[in-house]
């Protein structure tokens, strides 16, 4: 430990790491983080310095960038930044073209999302005409891209996510416009969450605009492609700056930038200022809110009023208007058959934001359904690790990392609705347990009778 290297070697980070607990071959954050980087930066006397071979020997590729090591370090070190450097080194190995290709594919969410969006109509048609064949073809497609054929695929949405342009008009001081940074998952795969978020924000007295945006770069960063993440950060900064400037001028206050996805929020708030030097990124970061923080913060008084008003008119539909026409568990989840049992899963990146569980607390305060406690095991990581768990080569490890969490949810029984802000947690949990999962804002939208599509 010195001033320049404050790691005290306590290994608190190792104890907190979900991958080190599940995978005996993983070197863990202490070896791959501060210790490894010490070796990188010139090395110890007589040490030639560490390289990709050592990173591979320590299993660096398994780090899922969950940030749990950061939250455990008594010295407050950004341990996961160090492990990311070790992970990034792997991609420079001469023998890793395939890994590079898969990494690049996952890192390029924007392109992938657009491609899948263009396939939307043919996919819907195929699923209608020959569902078995369509699923088989999709599985082959996944395999070709190095993705796991055992993953369920989100069913193709009717439209990609857009908000009526009339809604994007500049607001006023009284009714300011909020910029909704929807994120790739909402834009390309799950627009219902975006509509629910927009509906709830509107009910709380805001106008909503979905600004031009590209992928936040979080998947690229997790894959060790800092270069792509920097590009994504620069592009978003340009687009969001324009939107902010335009609105600030017309409504007299700077708009809040709100995201329903904790990983996007983390990228915009914490990673952009690291990746792009200068005051612009820092200023933008100060405008960024996690949707839950925003709804339980400045939006709360009017939102609570709106919920109370809505309850007088429409019987609450805690199912969020979602699930209509969608397969759902057979029993117990209907509002007619008693209160909905729900539990909240805090994703690793929601934890990394340090904002607590604002939406779960709001739902409890509003007396929605019956919250159930999954026990301490569910505070762990679900194992998906962002997009990592989608890779064919990572699927089994992802289930092993998540197994204590997944088993604990399974034990709650099929009647329990799992609420999580993170789309990838929702994906993993419903894939592995068969439980039904939603973004908590969908439940709020259901209470308000807000349209979800």
């Amino acid at each position: 430990m010195t001033a320049d290297d404050p790691c005290v070697g306590c290994a608190s980070c190792v104890t907190a790491c979900p991958v080190a607990a599940a995978d005996g071959g993983f070197g863990g954050p202490k070896a791959l983080g501060p210790a490894f980087c010490r070796g990188l930066d010139g090395g110890w006397p007589g040490n030639p310095g560490l390289g990709p071979a050592e990173a591979a020997a320590l299993g660096a590729g398994a780090c899922i960038q969950c940030h749990r090591c950061d939250l455990a370090c008594p010295m407050g070190l950004p341990v996961s930044d160090f492990t990311r450097r070790a992970k990034a080194l792997l991609l420079s190995r001469p023998g890793a073209p395939y890994a590079r290709y898969v990494a690049r594919l996952l890192a390029e969410q924007e392109a992938l999302g657009r491609f899948i969006a263009t396939m939307r109509l043919p996919r819907r048609l195929a699923h209608r005409l020959a569902p078995g064949l369509a699923r088989g073809a999709e599985r082959l497609g996944l395999q070709a891209f190095g993705l796991s054929p055992r993953r369920s695929l989100p069913s193709p949405p009717a439209r990609t996510f857009e908000v009526p342009s009339s809604d994007g008009l500049a607001g006023s001081r009284d009714r300011p416009t909020v910029l909704l940074y929807a994120g790739c998952h909402v834009r390309f795969y799950d627009p219902a969450v975006g509509h629910a978020a927009a509906g709830v924000l509107r009910a709380a007295g805001y106008r909503v605009k979905v600004p031009a945006q590209v992928c936040c770069g979080s998947p690229a960063l997790s894959e060790g492609r800092e270069d792509l993440a920097v590009e994504a950060a620069r592009a978003n900064l340009r687009l969001l700056d324009q939107a902010v400037a335009r609105l600030s001028e017309s409504q007299g206050v700077e708009p809040a930038i709100v995201s329903p996805c904790p990983s996007c929020t983390l990228a915009l708030r914490r990673q952009f200022p690291d990746l792009v030097a200068g005051p612009a990124a820092a200023h933008l970061a100060s405008l960024v809110w996690d949707l839950g923080e925003f709804l339980s913060g400045p939006a709360r008084p009017r939102l609570v009023e709106a919920v109370q008003r809505a309850r007088e008119v429409v019987p609450p539909d805690p199912l969020g208007g979602r699930g209509k026409g969608q397969a759902r568990p057979a029993s117990g989840t209907d509002s007619a058959s008693g209160p909905v049992l729900w539990t909240h899963h805090a994703s690793c990146h929601l934890r990394a934001l340090g904002s607590g569980r604002p939406l779960a607390e709001l739902l409890k305060a509003l007396g929605v359904g019956l919250p159930v406690d999954g026990g301490p095991a569910v505070d762990g990581c679900c194992g998906m690790g962002g997009l990592a768990g989608l890779k064919a080569a990572e699927h089994d490890r992802s289930l092993a990392v998540g197994s204590p969490v997944l088993r604990a949810y399974e034990a709650l029984g099929q009647d329990v609705l799992v609420l999580s802000e993170c789309p990838m947690c929702r994906w993993q949990i419903s894939d592995a347990t068969g439980l039904w999962s939603l973004h908590p804002v969908e439940v709020l939208a259901g209470l308000l009778g807000a349209p979800s599509a």
């Binding site: 430990m1 010195t2 001033a3 320049d4 404050p6 005290v8 306590c10 290994a11 608190s12 980070c13 190792v14 104890t15 907190a16 790491c17 080190a20 607990a21 599940a22 995978d23 005996g24 071959g25 993983f26 070197g27 863990g28 940030h67 950061d70 939250l71 455990a72 370090c73 008594p74 010295m75 407050g76 070190l77 950004p78 930044d81 690291d274 100060s286 923080e293 913060g297 400045p298 934890r351 990394a352 934001l353 340090g354 904002s355 607590g356 569980r357 607390e361 409890k364 919250p371 406690d373 026990g375 301490p376 095991a377 505070d379 204590p404």
Partner: protein, 409 residues
């Protein structure tokens, strides 16, 4: 007072606890008992990952001491980590085999090893950093125990032998069944002639209680976990189980990953603390930011052998200590940095530096844990930490309740 006023929102609690180490969690639990809304704001989970799991030190034989212990044991048991108390103190051996005493220990570690006891020290050959043979040797020499040592293999699933990996294996029921079989085969003979079998403290993150009980059944001897060296699975258990219980009451919000960098003090009262993003407002505050090891106290160049500039300041992560932020007076004796803390009055109110000769206190702030400083060069011990954290939490809650009553009438 200080800190840029760039926060764009405020969270409002009855009591805000800064710090999520042993002191912070105990203070938050005790404050939340009276039904108040409590917010925990902390940079990280503190020194809990280094904590051996033993509550060392002395519990004074007073009504206050008994109340704090009752509360702590009750809360911990309900959280899933039952503790054991033995009249007097337990005679244990530390993670290096030296004799230690303890006021409270996790139930799975509670042994009372009188000199001359026959003890079997078991090591796992794959577990990194666990010197079982040395422990047996030291414990025989220094604690007067009659120690034998056996090493057991955990098989290839243990991988690199990191403690969390092994704890997770023990939670896997199928794997554990296999382990029981080999434990019986290789240990039963030695275990039957011992009064206690001592295991490394890695018998599970969730099912340690059940696993130790099954091992006892199977070996027919008392089985206990030794205290931990870092990385401490017992410290991690404490952190996750207490945090889960705190959150599941629905009254405590946990903000870990937030560093307090600013505050406002008016008329000797703290109005809010801030992390630059959010203001945390409350009627009363508990300061449980730890000592030098937790980053609560920053060591200046002259004070600490002239070696380090600032313990908490690293690579793009700005961590300002709370003392300068609240302007508190610290005390400590020279290089004995383990003794450093902020100066407080009898109730735990800190004194502010430089104002009226240090006579002015922050009336709605209570200091707990390592932050409160200790006398002697041993560093803080969990016994004093949990006593003053319980008290700080209760006093902060009492103030908040009184304020509520005043508000309501």
């Amino acid at each position: 007072m200080s800190g840029a006023t760039t926060e764009r929102s405020a969270l409002d609690y009855d009591v805000v606890v800064v710090g999520a180490g042993l002191a912070g969690l105990v203070a938050a639990a005790s404050a939340a008992e009276s039904g108040l809304r409590v917010g925990i704001v902390a940079r990280s989970s503190g020194s809990l990952g280094l904590w051996s799991g033993l509550v060392s030190g002395r519990i004074p034989p007073t009504e206050a001491g008994a109340r704090a212990v009752r509360f702590f044991m009750g809360y911990s048991a309900a959280a899933g980590l039952p503790m054991a108390e033995v009249p007097g103190t337990l005679r244990l051996v530390s993670a290096t085999g030296r004799p230690v005493t303890s006021a409270l220990t996790p139930r799975t570690a509670a042994a009372d090893l009188a000199p001359g006891s026959k003890v079997l020290v078991v090591g796992f050959s794959e577990l990194a950093d666990y010197p079982a043979a040395l422990i047996a040797e030291t414990a025989s020499r220094l604690a007067g125990l009659d120690c034998h040592y056996r090493s057991l293999s955990l098989g290839s699933a243990a991988g690199r032998g990191l403690a969390p990996r092994i704890a997770r294996l023990f939670d896997d029921e199928e794997w554990f069944d296999g382990f029981l079989t080999s434990a019986r085969r290789f240990l039963a003979a030695d275990a039957s002639s011992a009064s206690t079998v001592l295991l490394p403290p890695v018998t599970g993150l969730d099912h340690f209680g059940r696993n130790v009980a099954r091992l006892e059944d199977s070996l027919g001897t008392a089985v206990r976990e030794l205290p931990a060296l870092p990385p401490s699975v017992p410290g991690h258990r404490f952190s996750r189980l207490w945090r889960h219980r705190l959150e599941s009451t629905g009254r405590v919000s946990v903000h870990i990953g937030r560093t307090v960098t600013g505050s406002r003090v008016e008329n000797d009262r703290c109005r809010w603390v801030s992390d630059g993003l959010v203001r945390y407002e409350a009627t009363s505050f508990v300061l449980a930011t730890g000592g030098v090891a937790g980053g609560g106290i920053v060591v200046g160049p002259d004070a600490f052998f002239g070696l380090s500039r600032s313990v908490g300041d690293h690579a793009g992560l700005v961590t300002k200590p709370v003392e300068p932020v609240l302007g508190l007076e610290t005390r400590g004796e020279g290089a004995a940095w383990l003794t450093w803390g902020v100066r407080t009055d009898y109730d735990g109110h800190p004194y502010r530096a430089g104002e009226g000769g240090g006579a002015r206190r922050l009336e709605n702030v209570y200091v707990a844990g390592w932050e409160a400083g200790v006398s002697g060069a041993t560093g803080p011990q969990a016994a004093s930490t949990l006593l003053d954290a319980y008290r700080a939490g209760s006093l902060a809650a009492r103030d908040a309740c009184l304020a509520r009553e005043r508000w309501e009438t």
